[in-house]
Symmetry: C3
Subunit: 268 residues, 3 copies
């Protein structure tokens, strides 16, 4: 893997972001969220704020049924339990069967053996996209040993080789986020910078970005562009929030407000 | 059911709301909340803000014991698991035995077969009141096919026949909320309007309204009035919040503030 | 127990608080949080705001493994389930084995028989510190019958005898919080006052204080001082928040902001 020549990196252009944001708001996708215990509320509020519909349908009795009617599915393994993993498998398989895209957020990959084994199982179910920080993406690709808890200790650039490799091996889109965000399908790389370091002091900004990615890749013919457009919206909202926040409490409030207020035309 | 002649609809008067709000604040009811994963925090904060005491006692080892000493019980099936449903059954039975009122929030009724079967089981345990949106109430009454995820796709008026029918069949109070809120015991209908559409962009405003309903029906001789008074308080708080909010983030903050600040005398 | 002569009570001095706050921020401890369903988000945000790293690693498949690499562990029994209790036991034993300090938050002790029995099991695993309100500490020490749900009905002073007795019997530090906070190792008592009653209208301010205690006792040679320093930071932040808040919603936001803004030097 260390020998991969990276495809050229292209910064996503504003028209692309605007087009995908407009599409997402028009569609108002119904996003099935199977996520961790900590970020349930912010995930739902992020989706609602930007115009999507969250639905936390999580048990094995219902997850496959709902995945068939959802616009897209988010699978985040932050607080995994054996029974929730089973429900996630059922949802992923149902999503695949019904051509519903799904996103994997491999929280804390590389840190715990049981989790890494479990993540391999989910990876084998062909996620449409994967969104993680550098430590997680590197660990998922078999390089590196995970970050500090859920926080990355690597820069996003350091995971680019891993991201491209992972995308090629699993025919998926890999999105690695950090100071700059990157999305790759293995053939090309789109990037997006901006945002604010203040977002890292609020729990769930990363996890809910994966939910935004899920919302953006619903019913699109350009999933790679859709993924990086979700990142661009998050970065724009974080930048606006940072401008008015006194600390992480007011940042979180302003971030949700900004996600609601930002429109496609604001990217021109 | 389609032949039901609706009882006349009477708008709740301010004195009634004030009386019930005053009673609730005096009582400071201890509300046992068995609710979904997404809205735990906002539910607790809504109850605390308006002067009630939330207690999330949720396992089958404890739920019946606590229901016997609670002022009222909320059962919300947003993220149902087999073991939590069992705990809810035990709590509902214990509540009935000890004359403790309990409220059912049938989240996403009509959308998933397993859930609908489970809801029938809870309905058979005689809830004191049911609070849902139009899609949920219609589905629970056996009309209509559920909304889009947790969001209603019908107006609250469209569920009035269903609400009255459900109230009569199950000898319960049915509260259907939306732009206008209605509560019926099958014999009369009380209504309340106002509020703000902005509340629909914050997760848990509906679910926590069911908790407010639970708080208001504790130790009252006029449960129908109590139910619509809870709705009136929520609508008043939403209206105040909408006046100062920039988006859903600041709306949520201002809504909690308003629930805390609004007093009985403000309704005169 | 009623015959205990209390050690003299000494108010913690500002230099001590500053030293421990500085140490905690330098260390940026990785705090494993096994806490209840309601306060997951505020607990993570409180830790992030003040410069610690939260990690909600909660299943029995992972809890012991992570406790070995964490800086400290929080065990809060607010919404206990048999399987989560098992995971907590594994984490506590692993923490002990690897000399990682852990904090017990005995939510609603004294109210429910199953919970009290379960708490005895955790107490037998030698927590480094225990943080609770007066009702909980009294119940844990075998005096009193618990509060009203999760809220204390006693003043913190009323639990001082119980706290000292509990600290001696179990060779632990006991922290009882309320209008004034106290921490004792059975030999001496440190206290801290200030804060704001408004904190009691926001769910999770107590539970997240236990997480702050866990962050402060990581790698310290003066755990008693560390515990009361965590309390002092919380009280300072609450006081600042109360100065700008209109109600509990804006208080919660300002509290997180203040926890982020307050530095060691602010205590001189």
């Amino acid at each position: 893997m260390s020998d991969i020549t990276l495809p050229p990196i292209k910064s996503v252009d504003p028209e692309t972001i605007a087009t995908h944001l407009f599409h997402m708001k028009e569609l108002a996708p119904l996003v099935q969220c199977m996520t961790n215990d900590v970020v349930q509320e912010i995930t739902a509020n992020v989706l609602l704020a930007m115009g999507a519909s969250p639905a936390m349908v999580i048990t094995k009795e219902e997850s496959a049924h709902f995945a068939a009617i959802a616009s897209s599915v988010l699978i985040n393994v932050g607080t995994p339990r054996p029974e929730s993993i089973e429900a996630m498998h059922l949802a992923a398989k149902s999503a695949n069967l019904h051509h519903v895209p799904w996103v994997l957020d491999p929280v804390a990959a590389g840190l715990l053996p049981w989790r890494d084994k479990m993540l391999k199982g989910l990876l084998a179910l062909h996620p449409t996209a994967i969104r993680g920080n550098a430590s997680e993406i590197r660990a998922l690709a078999g390089v590196g040993k995970g970050g500090k808890g859920v926080d990355s200790t690597d820069s996003s650039e350091s995971a680019l080789q891993a991201a491209v490799s992972l995308a090629r091996t699993h025919s998926t889109i890999v999105c690695v986020t950090g100071k700059t965000d990157y999305a790759t399908d293995g053939q090309s790389i789109l990037s997006c910078s901006g945002g604010s370091v203040k977002a890292t002091f609020v729990v769930g900004t990363g996890c809910s970005l994966s939910a935004m990615v899920a919302a953006f890749i619903a019913q699109t013919e350009h999933p790679l562009e859709a993924v990086i457009s979700a990142c661009a919206l998050a970065k724009r909202a974080a930048q606006q929030a940072a401008g008015v926040a006194r600390g992480p409490g007011s940042f979180a409030v302003a971030y949700i407000d900004a996600l609601n207020l930002i429109q496609a035309k604001d990217f021109y």
